[in-house]
């Protein structure tokens, strides 16, 4: 196997007596979509937060592109090329959809300490941002403030922002959450195409989407990974069926 893009080793995080992450190891290989599934409260979002850097792990290492990033904050990890989406949309609410994406373009260009040139007429920001909105089918709503977008549109905008960072890996935390069946289906097709741009660690509850997309699946229960494997391996794993899929089926 090739060198993993993202390599998590023996990560641990406790909140008081609760072991939210209890010795988790995961690898994300180039070109892959690695899905992370598990019942509510299994610690999936906590894990994503630690990988993205918004939460500090108690112990363990996170290597990204061969480099230990455990000590870096979220902004520094993002600059290295780790793009995340949030389980609950997290946007600059007063800014238009376009300005939200322009902010990501600006961050990628590494140029936030410029005080004169006006962003409203800066084609170096507007054109790439508009292209990202077109990719997620949101161009028509470019000038609507994020606060006035529908739930589904905000999810699309989160993805456009992540794309605008030209990342080396995506971390998506339930991108389908709250989307209708039609929206989920379209997003599934869209994410499918993304794996060639960058590998993806995907937390998702929508099992149809997970089985359609994932190259590998890890099952997280009570902060531990109880199984990792291909879709077929996970489907037929008796322990997984008991712990998780059994409840759903």
């Amino acid at each position: 196997m090739s060198e993993p893009i993202l390599e998590i080793r023996d990560l641990r995080k406790s909140f008081g007596a609760l072991k939210a992450t209890d010795g988790v190891s995961v690898e994300l290989q180039p070109g892959q979509i690695h899905a992370l599934i598990g019942p509510n409260g299994a610690g999936k979002s906590t894990l994503i937060h630690q990988i993205a850097g918004s939460l500090r792990a108690d112990s363990g290492t996170i290597r990204f592109l061969g480099r230990d990033v455990s000590g870096l904050d979220m902004a520094a990890r993002a600059r290295l090329g780790l793009a995340r989406s949030f389980q609950i949309s997290s946007l600059a609410q007063e800014f238009s959809a376009l300005r939200n994406v322009m902010l990501a373009v600006q961050a990628r260009q590494g140029s936030s300490f410029r005080f004169f040139r006006q962003v409203a007429s800066d084609r170096d920001l507007i054109e790439p941002a508009m292209a990202m909105l077109e990719r997620v089918d949101l161009a028509a709503r470019a000038h609507v403030p994020a606060a006035e977008l529908s739930h589904g549109e905000r999810r699309q905008l989160e993805i456009a922002i992540a794309l605008a960072l030209s990342p080396k890996a995506f971390l998506f935390d339930e991108p389908m959450a709250g989307m209708g069946p039609e929206g989920s289906k379209r997003l599934t097709t869209f994410l499918d195409g993304l794996r060639h741009e960058a590998p993806m660690l995907l937390v998702e509850h929508d099992m149809d989407a997970v089985f359609a997309l994932a190259d590998r699946i890890s099952v997280l229960v009570y902060g531990r990974i109880i199984a990792t494997g291909t879709v077929d391996e996970i489907r037929s794993d008796p322990e997984v069926r008991r712990a998780y899929l059994g409840e759903a089926a």
Partner: protein
């Protein structure tokens, strides 16, 4: 031209026209009153950068206002007495030099204060900025060389090349020009990449970090620039009154600047200008009727906070819009 621009232009013309008219009618008092509006507005423009754009509720901006004032007062006193400032650095009565010094001093003091305060947020940020300002306040009170509790009187206004600053109208025009230039710079910075990042930091710091921009560094620079503008206003204020005292550094002053912004409209270009106009107007009109004028100002503030969050500019020109 949209409505906000029209309102801004009218405010700017009113603020320029009224004192010119008063000067021609031989009423220099009103010119001085208008200068007070302009200088307070400028100080609040500084705070508006941190508070309005960046969402940083600094309760310690009096520190920078006072520092600017003391820079003007100390330099003028030394120059008047013919004493060098340090070993062989001469003091000066040149306003441009004093302004530059005030701006640099305010910025240099703001950097460490900001670097420490910005590690906190919310009510802790408010308290820690207040604490730093009080520290400087008590330092000024206990330093007899520069007047201590009594402050420093300046025997005459500092000089500006080619202008008789002792007359009220020319001095007003200097301050007015300073305000307009600063407002222009404020508008430019607001629309720049830095301004985008700063406003995003206010709306959602996590989002900013998630795209790879550390909110801390953006906020720190904004805090320092904000302090520099307020420090500049402090220097002008000292020259206006020909006096600088610890009251410029007191927490009342910090509160006043916040009140100005809330009255006028937080984050709006002309918010501080409108706020200072209302504030000085009430201070003068109500202050002439009753010593308890601040009680009524309090009622107005209450009304604005409850019913007109956008301040006067929100009432006059509606919601702000982002591209």
């Amino acid at each position: 031209m949209n409505r906000e621009t029209t309102v801004n232009l009218l405010l700017a013309l009113l603020l320029l026209g009224a004192p010119i008219l008063a000067a021609n009618l031989g009423e220099p008092f009103y010119v001085t009153l208008a200068t007070r509006v302009v200088v307070l507005a400028l100080a609040a423009v500084g705070l508006n950068l941190a508070l309005g754009l960046g969402g940083l509720l600094s309760f310690g901006h009096a520190a920078f206002f006072g520092l600017g004032g003391y820079v003007a007062g100390i330099l003028a006193t030394h120059a008047f007495n013919g004493e060098p400032l340090f070993a062989d650095i001469p003091a000066t009565t040149s306003m441009p030099l004093i302004w530059v010094t005030a701006v640099v001093v305010a910025g240099l003091v703001a950097l460490p204060i900001g670097a420490i305060s910005l590690r906190t947020s919310g009510v802790y940020f408010i308290m820690i900025t207040l604490a730093f300002a009080q520290l400087i306040y008590y330092f000024a009170i206990s330093w007899p060389a520069y007047g201590g509790e009594d402050g420093l009187s300046m025997s005459m206004r500092n000089a500006f090349p080619g202008v008789n600053t002792a007359k009220p109208l020319p001095y007003f025009l200097i301050c007015y020009a300073a305000l307009m230039v600063t407002l222009l710079l404020f508008r430019i910075v607001e629309g720049s990449r830095f301004g985008s990042a700063l406003q995003a930091a206010r709306q959602n710091g996590t989002r900013l970090a998630a795209v790879g921009i550390a909110p801390f560094s953006i906020r720190l620079v904004a805090f320092a620039v904000s302090a520099m503008i307020t420090g500049f206003a402090g220097a002008l204020y000292a020259d206006l009154n020909r006096f600088v005292g610890p009251s410029m550094l007191s927490w009342h002053m910090s509160g006043e600047l916040i009140v100005l912004i809330i009255l006028g409209g937080k984050g709006r270009l002309f918010g501080p200008v409108a706020g200072a106009m209302i504030f000085v107007f009430f201070e003068y009109v109500l202050g002439g009727i009753t010593e308890r004028w601040q009680f009524f100002l309090g009622l107005i503030l209450l009304g604005i906070v409850l019913f007109a969050r956008g301040g006067l500019l929100g009432l006059l020109s509606g919601k702000p819009r982002h591209v």
